[in-house]
């Protein structure tokens, strides 16, 4: 068990300087100020595969792409009611992330569960970007408190409420944990490796299934879904 004490807490702009990012270590706790926008498979497919122009000035408006669908509604008068905010699992967006960095100039990817070490090395590091993971993953109410207001909702008709681009003004928006740093180190990878060392003990006295399944592995370092 590691006892490095309580994690550091840091306030960070949603258009961070390279210097600010270089100070962040994996495991640090981050709270954001500025503007974040949601964008997931619907947005990536429309912008990257269909070539539709992004209806925002990126990264000037925001360099923080949130893998998220909020629990929110647009009222009849056009105003918004945003309750809770929670990230969705990011590994599913691997195929678009390289092209998205080029298009958006994003420096912060916010989401659930991180992405693969290959994605960090190949796409995050060359673009000077880091990954921030939400906490829990259920701190939706705390994140909701950090939302000042919804600035805009783009592609609502084309993609629906859950997949649309929500542009959100935030203050002290968090907590997030630094999952990958500018060098591409990954907190989840580090923790997985530590846990894997001791797993065989927990498995003592168990037995593999009598009938195997295709593609089955007994290597508990593998990540499976």
């Amino acid at each position: 068990m590691e006892h490095s004490g309580k994690p550091n807490k840091i306030r960070l702009s949603t258009n961070p300087t390279n210097e600010a990012l270089s100070k962040l270590k994996i495991g640090d706790i981050v709270y954001l100020d500025g503007v974040v926008y949601t964008g997931r498979e619907g947005v990536y497919m429309r912008a990257i595969e269909d070539g539709e122009p992004i209806p925002m000035d990126l990264p000037a408006e925001s360099a923080a792409n949130f893998h998220c669908s909020p629990a929110a509604v647009q009222n009849e008068d056009g105003s918004f009611n945003m309750g809770a905010v929670t990230a969705t699992a990011s590994f599913r967006f691997s195929k678009w992330i390289g092209a998205w960095f080029k298009m958006s100039g994003a420096k912060l990817i916010l989401g659930k569960g991180g992405m693969s070490p290959e994605d960090y090395k190949k796409h995050f590091v060359p673009n000077g970007a880091i990954y921030l993971t939400t906490v829990g993953y259920g701190t939706g109410a705390l994140l909701g408190r950090g939302v000042k207001q919804v600035r805009a909702l783009h592609w609502r008709k084309e993609l629906g409420l859950a997949q649309a681009i929500w542009v959100i003004e935030v203050e002290n928006f968090g907590p997030f944990i630094v999952e990958s740093d500018l060098e591409g180190n990954s907190l989840f990878e580090r923790e997985n490796a530590k846990i894997a060392e001791n797993l065989s003990k927990a498995y003592e006295g168990t037995r593999p299934a009598v009938l195997k399944r295709f593609g089955e592995t007994d290597d508990r370092k593998d990540e499976l879904i």
């Binding site: 929110a72 829990g136 939706g140 846990i195 927990a202 498995y203």
Partner: protein, 320 residues
């Protein structure tokens, strides 16, 4: 006769409660787990979760932005009569689900599997699910809503009698390790295990074990209850905590439900009811009373009966 307006009104309140208020049994279980966690990051996560539940209640906002897939479990006392019958009941529950999606608000999670059509109200083909149970006696209906979240944490496997307890343990650990990495199961969770039945009923049993039993209760079969304790401890001993960080907070409680199965098989399913274990319950009586609670009390002796006839226990014959 139970008024249909009262059912819809109660159902809307339940949708709100489930999304916002963490049930006390889960909260107490998490507090206990948090007090024992010594992994720094895992501890930080659990403290943030405890603050989050508080923020949700204070602000009356959903505790998690992914508000899960709302579903209904309806249990009817044998004497209950609902105004308009079962068709009216289902319409009222669908209306309550749609209204609450825009009211709380909830995330409009439900889409067509192929065309991704979203009605923005969590209602569609087969959604919300409505499942039924019955109890001897009683002029009441229990409305239970569960908003189970998560794409990860659930799996099924056909095991065989020769796999034995060792094989059951292996599959249980496989599920925790596979879905616990990066915290994809949103642990610590209430783990439900279904054993036996057939493939579909095994999944139903496991899901109900996770969602319809509370933290701290025990299966009435003492040997199964002992397994529940053992599995809870085993799950918390793999070295993994919240978000897949080093720690020991995986399992808030482990609940096992069984059903008689084919003589050659031993079906097993594992389900994880996440950090936002959303459930809310109300009993609506024929005389218009409504009692809210958080314990579904689904698995009664009647639900678990193993005999041909149901003989009402003597201490219940007078009230029935």
């Amino acid at each position: 006769m139970i008024s249909i307006d009262l059912i819809q009104q109660t159902a809307e309140t339940l949708m709100d409660k489930a999304a916002i208020e963490i049930p006390d049994d889960y909260l107490d279980g998490l507090k206990k787990t948090a007090s024992q966690e010594d992994g720094d990051l895992s501890s930080f996560v659990l403290q943030a979760m405890l603050e989050n539940y508080q923020a949700a209640k204070e602000d009356r906002r959903a505790m998690c932005g992914d508000t899960g897939c709302p579903r209904w479990y309806v249990k009817m006392g044998n004497e209950a009569q609902i105004e308009g019958g079962a068709i009216a009941l289902e319409a009222a529950l669908r209306r309550a689900t749609a209204n609450a999606t825009n009211g709380v608000p909830l995330r409009p999670n439900r889409v067509h599997p192929l065309w991704r059509t979203d009605h923005d109200n969590n209602v569609g083909i087969g959604a919300p699910e409505i499942e039924y149970g019955f109890e001897p006696g009683g002029d009441w209906v229990d409305l239970i809503t569960v908003h189970k979240g998560g794409l990860f944490g659930t799996d099924y496997r056909m095991l065989f009698p020769s796999d034995g307890i060792e094989g059951i343990k292996r599959f249980y650990l496989d599920c925790l390790v596979a879905f616990g990495k990066r915290g994809l199961a949103c642990q610590p969770a209430i783990i439900g295990i279904g054993l036996g039945g057939s493939k579909d009923t095994c999944m139903v049993l496991g899901k109900r074990a996770a969602c319809l039993r509370v933290v701290g209760d025990k299966n009435p079969d003492p040997k199964i209850a002992a397994l529940e304790d053992e599995f809870k401890e085993l799950g918390n001993s793999i070295g993994m905590g919240a978000m897949g960080f080093v720690g020991k907070s995986m399992v808030i409680d482990c609940n096992i439900e069984v059903g008689y199965c084919h003589t050659g098989g031993m079906q097993m399913s594992v389900h994880a009811f996440c950090l936002s274990s959303r459930r809310a319950v109300a009993r609506v009586f024929g005389d218009g009373r409504v009692e809210y609670r958080t314990d579904p009390d689904w698995f009664t002796d009647y639900q678990r009966r193993d005999t041909v006839e149901w003989n009402i226990p003597e201490n219940q014959t007078k009230s029935a």
